[in-house]
Structure formats: C-alpha cells, structure tokens
Symmetry: D3
Subunit: 240 residues, 6 copies
Amino acid sequence: MMRPSQRAPGQLRNIEIIRRYTRHAEGSVLVKFGDTHVLCTASIDEKVPGFLKGKNQGWLTAEYGMLPRSTGTRMDREAARGKQTGRTQEIQRLIGRSLRAVVNLDLLGERTIQLDCDVIQADGGTRTASITGAFVALHDAVDVLLQKQLIATSPIRDFVAAISVGVYKGTPVLDLDYLEDSDCDTDMNVVMTGSGGFVEIQGTAEGEPFARTEMNAMLDLADSGIRQLIAYQKAALGLA
Amino acid sequence: MMRPSQRAPGQLRNIEIIRRYTRHAEGSVLVKFGDTHVLCTASIDEKVPGFLKGKNQGWLTAEYGMLPRSTGTRMDREAARGKQTGRTQEIQRLIGRSLRAVVNLDLLGERTIQLDCDVIQADGGTRTASITGAFVALHDAVDVLLQKQLIATSPIRDFVAAISVGVYKGTPVLDLDYLEDSDCDTDMNVVMTGSGGFVEIQGTAEGEPFARTEMNAMLDLADSGIRQLIAYQKAALGLA
Amino acid sequence: MMRPSQRAPGQLRNIEIIRRYTRHAEGSVLVKFGDTHVLCTASIDEKVPGFLKGKNQGWLTAEYGMLPRSTGTRMDREAARGKQTGRTQEIQRLIGRSLRAVVNLDLLGERTIQLDCDVIQADGGTRTASITGAFVALHDAVDVLLQKQLIATSPIRDFVAAISVGVYKGTPVLDLDYLEDSDCDTDMNVVMTGSGGFVEIQGTAEGEPFARTEMNAMLDLADSGIRQLIAYQKAALGLA
Amino acid sequence: MMRPSQRAPGQLRNIEIIRRYTRHAEGSVLVKFGDTHVLCTASIDEKVPGFLKGKNQGWLTAEYGMLPRSTGTRMDREAARGKQTGRTQEIQRLIGRSLRAVVNLDLLGERTIQLDCDVIQADGGTRTASITGAFVALHDAVDVLLQKQLIATSPIRDFVAAISVGVYKGTPVLDLDYLEDSDCDTDMNVVMTGSGGFVEIQGTAEGEPFARTEMNAMLDLADSGIRQLIAYQKAALGLA
Amino acid sequence: MMRPSQRAPGQLRNIEIIRRYTRHAEGSVLVKFGDTHVLCTASIDEKVPGFLKGKNQGWLTAEYGMLPRSTGTRMDREAARGKQTGRTQEIQRLIGRSLRAVVNLDLLGERTIQLDCDVIQADGGTRTASITGAFVALHDAVDVLLQKQLIATSPIRDFVAAISVGVYKGTPVLDLDYLEDSDCDTDMNVVMTGSGGFVEIQGTAEGEPFARTEMNAMLDLADSGIRQLIAYQKAALGLA
Amino acid sequence: MMRPSQRAPGQLRNIEIIRRYTRHAEGSVLVKFGDTHVLCTASIDEKVPGFLKGKNQGWLTAEYGMLPRSTGTRMDREAARGKQTGRTQEIQRLIGRSLRAVVNLDLLGERTIQLDCDVIQADGGTRTASITGAFVALHDAVDVLLQKQLIATSPIRDFVAAISVGVYKGTPVLDLDYLEDSDCDTDMNVVMTGSGGFVEIQGTAEGEPFARTEMNAMLDLADSGIRQLIAYQKAALGLA
C-alpha cells in the first residue's frame, strides 16, 4: 500500500504553528497541517452568556468557518445563504468541547474566551488542525489575562490536540489529507490531552463497517500523532 | 456503585418496539428504551435529491425532532424559533449515516426513503433509540416496496442498532438514562451492525478524559447491548 | 346521502381523551377524534411575556405542529424549512384565543401556561381536537398550581370545546373526517363554552357560497356536538 | 348606546373607491372605509405556481401589508424583521380565498393574478376594506385581459365584498372603526357575494362569549352592509 | 439631444410636497418628483437604541420600501421573501446618514425619530425624493416636539435635499426619470444642505467611465437642482 | 497637521500584492494596504445566473466578508447571525460593479467569475483594498481561461483600482487608515480605471458637509493614488 501523499502510515504531514499571525486578537495562530491552513484566533470578552451570569465562572466557545474558495470547488458562503450547515455546527461544537475539557472555567473569572477557526485553505483534517491551533491561541490569550493580572492562575489544566486516523485500502493511516480521506473506508477523529486521556473519539465507517482490531490500530496511531502535535505546540509556545 | 436506575452495569432498560403505530407511513414504529419514547416513521418518496438525479440510485435521509415538552423543562419549538439547533442537526446526520451504512442505495431505485424520528418523551438515549427504531421502520418500508414489486431485491444488507455506554462514578455502564447521563464522566454512542462491525463511535469526556482501558470496557458493553437490541428488532419483525 | 364514514349526519367520531399520556408535562393529554390523534401538553412557566411584566396577571398561549408523516403524504418539517406556515400560525392563534376565553388571567398570577398541540396522526379536524384536548391538559396544569398552593382559586371559568361542521353533498354534517372535508362545500369550525356561548366561528365556502339556512343547520349540529364533547371532557376529568 | 363614531348601529362609514390610483398595475384601487385607506393593486403574471403547471388553469393569490406608520403607534416593518406576522398571513389567506370564491380559475388561462393590499392608513376594518377594494382591482385587471383578447370570457362569476360587524356595549353594530373595535365584545368579519351567499364568516368573542341571537342580529347587519358595498363597487366600475 | 421626458437638461420634473398626508404620524409627507411618489412619515419613539442608552443624546434612523406594484413589473414583497435586498438597505442607510447630517442629536433628547419612506409609485429617483420628502416630515415631527415643549431648541441645523444627475447620450442632465436612468451612462445621486455643502455624492458609471469634466458639469446641475428643491421644501413648510 | 500614521497627505500606505496565495482558486491574491490584509480569490463557474441563461454572455459577481477578529473588537460572525449586514452588502455590490465596469461580459462566454474578498486583518480601507486586489485575482482567472483556450480574447478592457480619500483635520489626505478614518470629517472612496475614468465615487460627510474645493482636492489625491496602485498591479502581474 502506498499513500497518495507518499507518507508512511504513521507519518504526520508537515506541521507549522505560527503565533501572532494577525495583530488584533489576544491569540492569533496560523496552523498548517500540510496544505490545510487554518487561522485560529482567541478573543477575550468581559461577559458571559446569560445562563452563566452571576455564577462566578467563565465560558469558552468556538466558531468555525471555511472561506468559500478554501476548497477545490467553491462552496456557498454561509453568511450569504443565511445559515451554517450542520457540518459547520458539528465541528464548532466539537472544538468548543475539546478545549473546555482542559480549561478550569472557575479560574477564568466571569469572562468568555471566543475561539474562531477560519479555514484559509483546505486539504482534509480542518477540524483537527483547528483544535490543535486553537489551543495555542487560547494559551496566548490566557497569557494576556495573566500579564494584565486579570487572573492569578492559569485555568489551562493540560495540553490538548487532535488528529485524524483512518483505514486506507486496508491499512490504518495517520493524518489523512483530502485525497486519502475521499477514498478511505473509515475516518476517525481523536482528541487527546497531554497526559494521554481521550477527550473525543468520533469514528465513522464511510464504506464497510470497521472491526475492533482496526479500531485498536487506529488508536495506536492517534496516540503517537497526538504526542508529536503536542511537542509542536510546546515548541511554538517556547515551552519545549 | 449503584446506578440511579438500579440496573446492573450491563443491563439495558426495558425495550419495546411497536410496529404500525400510526397508519399513514410506509413504516411506523414506536420504540421505547425505558421512559424514552420515539416515534420513527419511514416515508417513500419517488424522487431523489438533485445531486443524484439520473444516477439510477436511491437515497436515504433522516430528520429528528423533540416535542417541546418531551423533556422535564419545556424546550423552545424549533419551528417557531426558525431554525434547528446544532444538536438536532448533529443527531439527524448521525441517524442518516448509520442507516445508509446498511443499505445498498443502488438496489433502491431512484427514490428516497425519509426517516423521521420524533421524540414523544425523553429520558436519555434519544439518538440511540431513534437509530434502533428507525431501522425497523425502514425494514417495513422496504417490505412495502417489495410487495408492490417496485424493487426485486431488498437493499438492506444487515441489521443496525445503537446504544449508549458511559463511565458512571468510575464504572462502565450500558444504556444511560437521563439521570445517569447528567452525572457521568464519559458518554459514548456506538452504532454497530448485525455482523458486529462498527458503523459509528462517538465518545465524549464530559468531565475527566477517559483511558484506553475504560474505552475497551465500554466497547465490550456496547457489543453486548447491540446484540440484544438486534434480537429485539428481529423479534418485532417476526424474523427471530 | 351516505357519509364516507357511514356516520349519521349529526354523529361524532369515536372520542377518546387520555390523561397523563407523557410524564414530564403538568398536563398531558392524548385526544382522539377517530383517526385524528393529537398530543396536548400544558407547561407552566413562572414568567410572563415582556408586555405583561409587572401587571400582576398571567398569560396563556399555544403552539401547534404536525409530525411530518402524520398525514397521507409526508409534509416538510417546519423546523427544517425554517418557518411555520400561515396555516400553522392561524391554528395556534385560534387555540390560544379559544382557551383564553375561559380563563381569568388575573387569577393565574404572573406565570404563563403554554399549550403544545402536536398532531401524531391526522384525519381531519386537528384544530378542533387540539382545542378540546388542550382544555383538559390546561385543567390538569391548573390543578397542579392549586395543589402546590401557588394559586388559591382556579382561573378556569367554563369548559370550552370545538367541533367542525360542514355541508357535504348538500347535507349539513358534524365532525368531518379528511375524506369528507376534502369533498365538502362548506367547512366551519365552531368553538363554544360549557354554557353554550360562541367563542369562535370560522366558516369557509370551499365551493359554492352557503346560505343562511345552511348556516343555521350547521350551528345546530355544532351545538349538539360541543355538548357531547364537554361531557367527554368531564368524564375524563372525573367531574361528570 | 352612542357609538364613538356617532353613527347609527347599521350605518357604514363614508366609502370611497378610487380606480387607477397608481399607473403601473393592471388594476389599482384606493379604497376608503372612513379613515381606513388601502391601496389594492392587481398584477397579471403569465405564469402559474408549480403545483398548477400544465393544468390549463389560472391562479389568484393575495398579499397584505401595513405601512409601518399606518397606525397610531409605529409597527415594526415586516421586511426588516424578516418575517410576516401570523396576523398578516391570516389576512392575506382570507383575501385570496374570498376572491377565488367568485373566480372561475379555468377561464383565466395559465396565468396568475396577484393582489396586493397595502394599508396606507388604518382605522379598523383593514381586511374588509382590502377584500372590497381588491375585487374592483381584480375586475380592472380582468378587463385588461379581455381587451387584449387574452381571454374570451370573464372568469368573474359574481361580486364579492366584506364588512365587519360586532357587539358594542351590548348593541350589534356595523363596520367598526378602531375605537369601537378596541372596546367591543365580539368582532365578526363577513364576506358575501352579490347573490347573497356567505363566502367566509369569522367571528371572535373578545370578551364574553356571544349568543345565537346576537349572531343573527350581526348577520342581518352584515347582509345590509354588503349590499351597500356592492352598490359602491358597481358605481365605481360604471356598472350601476 | 432630446431627453425622453422632453425636459431641458437642467430642468426638474414637477415637484409636489404634500404635508399631513396621513393622520397618525408626527410628520407625514407625500412627495412627488413627477411620477415618482413616496410617502415619508416621521415617528417619534421615546427610546434610543442600546448603544446610546444613558448618553443623553437622540437618534434618527430611516427605513425604505417599495410597494410590490409601484414598478412596471411587480417585485417580490420583501416581507414575504423574509429579507430586504442589498439595494433597499443601501438606500435606507443613505437616507438616515443624509438626515443625521443636519440634525444635532444632542438637542433631540433621549428619543428616536424614525423615518419611513415607502414608494407608492416609482419612476426613477426614489431615493432622492425620499430624502427630500423625509426632511419635511422630520421638520414637522420636530415641530411637534417643540409644541409639546419636550425640547426647547430645534435640533435641525440646516435644510437638506437630494437629486440625481447623469450623463444621458453624452449630455449631463438633471433629475433622471426611469426611462432616462435605464439608458444613461452615468448616474449620480447628490445630497446637499441649504448652505451648499455636500453631504453625500454617489456616482456610478453604468456604461463608460466618466471624466472629471462630466463630473463637474453634473455637480453644477445638482447644485442648481438642490437649490430649487429646498425652495419647494420651504414653500411647503410655509417658511419661504 | 500631522497624520496619525506620520504619512504625507498624498502618501499611500505600504502596498503589497501577493499572487497565488492559496492554491485552489483560479486567482488568489493577498493584498495589503499597510495593516489591512484582504484575501481575494477568483473562481470560475461554468454557469450563469437564471436571468442570463441562453444570452451567450458571462457574469461577474463579488462577495465580501470580514473574519470575526480581523478588527480590534470581535464582530459577530455573519454566518452565525444568519444574515449579512447592510454594510457588507453595500461593499460587495460596489466590488462587483467596479470590476464589471472593465470587463466585456460578452467575451466571457456563458460562465461566471465569482470574486471573494475576505478580510484577514482590518485597518481601514478594506473595500478599496478588496477592489484593487480582486482585479489582480480576476486577471489571473482570465489567464486560466485563455490558457485552457476556453476563450480566445481577454474580456478585460482596462485596469481598475480603488482608494479612499478624506478630509482629516481640515487637510485632504490619501488612503486613510482606521485611526484617521475614525476621526475625519469626510470619507470618499474613488474607483478609477487605468485610462483615468471614474467608475464609482462615494463620498460621505461624517461631520461637517464638504465644499466643492475640498472635493476637487480629494479627487486630485485619488487620481494620483490610483495611478500608483495600478503600477503595483502591473508589477505584480509582470506587466510593468
């Protein structure tokens, strides 16, 4: 089996994490998983949603979008259509849950951190790149809060990153690009923390159902991929 | 550890599958997982969506809704709010993918089977009950097509059912009700076929991340639960 | 003249009123007018809309929906289309007005009773069944308020029920089912109180305009039908 | 009993029907019921809606709107809010049904007549003025079709007009203005043809339920009012 | 060059400004630029939008709409389509900015003046007629505030009016009607104050780009046209 | 007078035009006017809108959006709010008109070129940067059509670019950044062709109305700025 990308089954694409990519946001990160480029910004808003008012606790939420021509064929602009697709909502809910899993909202104070993940160029794996990049943007925004002494302790409890795994022509592979993703039997997105716990697992059999053994092989690959991604995050943050 | 429902960790709730619950639909099933009651109807439409026209292949899609007072606190009616929530869209996409996984759309002819899963009363696990019941409604609708000789061969390739598993106060448990779900660390929905393959796995750590061993224990429970659910489906269809 | 339903001109369909049909709502009634089945729930919300705040008075409002396959041909789901049809809005406004006509909102306190009428199966007359069933659900919800001593006096001033009448092939008939309704010249919905006053009359000539004599005959039938329906309501509530 | 308008119980307001009020529409009528002024235009569109295509039959439909400051307090602009209220939809459905009742759609050919009723100034009775004025606009549009020899026979079978009646401080009265309408017990809109048949009756008890005797008195008033309105229509059309 | 309207290049259409056209609004003006008729109403609302609360300053805003059959071919009703077109929003933003340019919002107190410009009949130049008429409606509404002694000093600092200019078959012309507008190379809308300052200039080359000399000629025409319009405003207000 | 940006009154910001910024679009340009960065993509769609079908002519249209945190304070995501603001629609209409002014749609064939201008980082002048960058993206997309021999002759008739001018503290200045724009009296956007003709002029007095002499000074600045921008476009395209 040869992957279209010529990569070894367990090999990530080239990963780049560029901080301070734009100048207004408290955290602004361009993350690249090969040809997938996502701009992740973290914005601090000194308010919480209604259901949290007066509870002395913060909130973290995420939104996701794709530029209309980030893809091979132009997609309709969601703002012009007047609604977000189910896929978009699914992804932004996933990003939000994944990051909240490593944040102690009680330590954040009554404020919201809003993460925006906007896909500039897509080549598969936009949701995993989004989570991985958004964590770094979040980290930068938290540093702003610490530096301004708005909070005394970082609410971030652990690192978190995400990667896709799949079964391509019978072989479990890591970090599928668009070509591989379009032609694979199973596609699974795995979100894990720095200490190796699972935060989210979402696996879908696109063709044939998958077996327990395949699942185990995919999780092994994901575990290895996540470790590498967290090393990239640490390097980008100067924490390595 | 005692579950709020007093059930053993691997014990399903009382399952009921009532066919021909309403009279207009080609398939109409009321499925009960304990106090969770979902009406699943299958409707045949002699058209396909635009992207499939002229391809000599069928389509299967699903929609999901909750009656406003199916829950403890009344929810806003989505039709009045003017849009479906992200959660609703996520669930109906899951139901559609799960059923398409066991249907050969080429054998369906240029027609659509539309599955509607409407929650009459909710007590946790509405999406797994929906998938499990919708399969039976689909089976009945396919029988109508066969009886009318609109198709010669059933496009259904296997059974499919779904169940939730979770980690409740440290113990992996099967088929969480609302009380258990609200208080558990991990919630995972598993969709499997009659032949034991995975179609979908969606696991979320609500509190602490979960470990590989917990995941394995949950998958074992799911496997056992799905086998029982498929037995209920067969019994309901008189195929046992 | 023989009605398709074989009923005598002034004969109701089989009427059933089942209380406590689902377990969460303060009032939950499944009402059946023959093959028309509507689930009516009453929910208490300890708030009033903005225009009533601080006026020491309650509110009662209604929403109506049909499950997509409650009908012979599947209808689009209003939540998916993103808006309610004019027909839906017309019916839910009618239900709300009809019930407010027998409720003293000053005695309700600053709270809202929300009635939801969801059609599980349709065979004509869904709006009249909704009003008739919703009254019983409302009665149960008021009993909850009395039992909890949130109010001292019932705000319900009278019974209210609704029935359709029409002119079918020249003969005035009571309680039209779908087949009769589709083929009649005139369709009139009448809402009356227990003391025999009119709350609403809505008559439409579907084919030929109708004469004053036909109108009088229809109102006589309606009067008789409403008396029977109120007897069913009383029996269901154990007040007969 | 003295009406706020000083009119006798059975007295209409001053009625004016001005044809050719604007220059583009095939029919354009400004109708005045006292201080209620509605611009009714009829537009011919050489298409029919999808459900009528190829059936060799025409269609007639109506839309209704109020200018934001046609009323004492400015109302939100429906175009800016992004949806029409239930009241608006109810009224435009009523206008359409009322006019279709006197039109033979088979004689119209495969084209649509669209009636737009826009309230310039409101003082009660906008829906009845709309129906009464729209009929005249429709008549003018049909004349255009006849003159252009697009149709050979007029599809208009009869005149149609509408009026409100009510019970004001215990006395049945005709053609309520806003002040009377706001303070009456019962409000009923009646649509009748030139030959005296009922097309629509919509009566609502705003306060106390109304009795059969009151209803009969109101219908007598309506009958007399409609006869006068149709005389005004005929005079305006030069058919008196 | 002969204009389709037979007017000289610098000649306005017949201008009429009719005050108190409808009776509810604090200012109500029907303005006619030839066959373009716009009803402009000014409504006083004793509130300001959220972003101005507590700032002791007023607000002025405008909305614009066209009746569906104000034009040669019926346009879709924006309220029925569920959104305003980009053109509508562009025009109402322009009207609001133009009038705010001559109003001292600090002198208005914490209240909003809402201008509604509704086109009854269109023949080109609806936005310039709207601005010109809305100013007079605004003036009347301010007089109401002064007469009620709600404000002591008029917040109106200057007159404002608007006119279109264009290049028609090579010749700069003033106040284009629909026929001229459809066939001209350049269309420019100019908003000026009584003291001759520019408030807005919006010029668009519909065909060939336009040269600086043409622009200068158009601005000369606009200047002359605005002076005449302001004379009409003054005459209508009895201030001449 | 010293501009906040320290620039001379007639000095542009640093201009950069980077082609082939993303890899999927037929034209993809990142344009920078100082700290304003806009990604402009041109997509070819082998269809035209309904109103042009069968007319043997092409179409060109534009959409515009800002990433939520392209600005100092995060803006709501339009896709999440469910509609585009009036400002967004105004800008995208302007971009489309400006580019169509230099394109011969008859030479394009029955296809659409869709321009997307997405603001990555905003510091004033996003619409002028968008037009200037979109022209280069359009040029690249047309080259693709020529290279594929889908068209024989370029439909591009001239260059087009846009710049803002304003009156800042009494002095006419070129190419305002956000700080300058927020504090200026007049803001004018000018779109001109390579041959020096005006395509669009949109000037707004934000504070005091502006005089003819100021307008002339601003147009002189704009003329000089546009010449420089077109030189940058030519250089980027290798046509200098």
